[in-house]
Subunit: 96 residues, 2 copies
Amino acid sequence: MDIEIAAKALKELGHPIRLSIYKRLVKAGQPGMAVGKLQEELKIPNSTLSHHIASLASAQLLSQTRDGRTLYCQAEYEHFEALIEFLQAECCADQM
Amino acid sequence: MDIEIAAKALKELGHPIRLSIYKRLVKAGQPGMAVGKLQEELKIPNSTLSHHIASLASAQLLSQTRDGRTLYCQAEYEHFEALIEFLQAECCADQM
DNA sequence: ACTATATTTCCAGAACTATCGAAATATAGT
DNA sequence: ACTATATTTCGATAGTTCTGGAAATATAGT
């Protein structure tokens, strides 16, 4: 992971709604969570939610898979893990 | 750390210049680094740099101390550490 | 083909962020 | 007081992000 990619991921996580979405998706684990279920929990308009989901996807923080009419979102956990590793390697006092 | 504060810190780190500043400050350790030295390394106009420093300070990611005409910036490492801990507690698959 | 459900894309306005030259402020030395 | 150095604040512009209603798309069932 380079600094541009790390900054992009941090930026997309740096919004309370998106951070909540991501957090919720990690809790949901591998099967992920339907967009509609997220909307129900977060109580925000569908278009707003959809934009935030697209932002997270643009940073490879989540992916979507369709099952019939329902789209499931999954946390792309490896990418997040790589971000944490980048931060610990580049910005951790302990490592130096 | 709550989710609003975590999002704020992530947001401010989510810009390539600010992430570079922060990274550089962590490397500089306790004595920190003069604004002028940062400018020399990053080669950006002083006003632009000053705004980015203020953004990081607004998220408690750095503090400044003056020595004569020189202002030193120090990474507020505890706050960053708390952020990483928040992310690992709230968004880590391993913990669940 | 029609209707219903799930979700995205389009559109637009308001709010915010980034950038940087120029002016202002702070401090030090003479 | 004056000059030089270090840094911030002002002011303005351009660009980006956030928000959400309405329209469009995708799929399923009848």
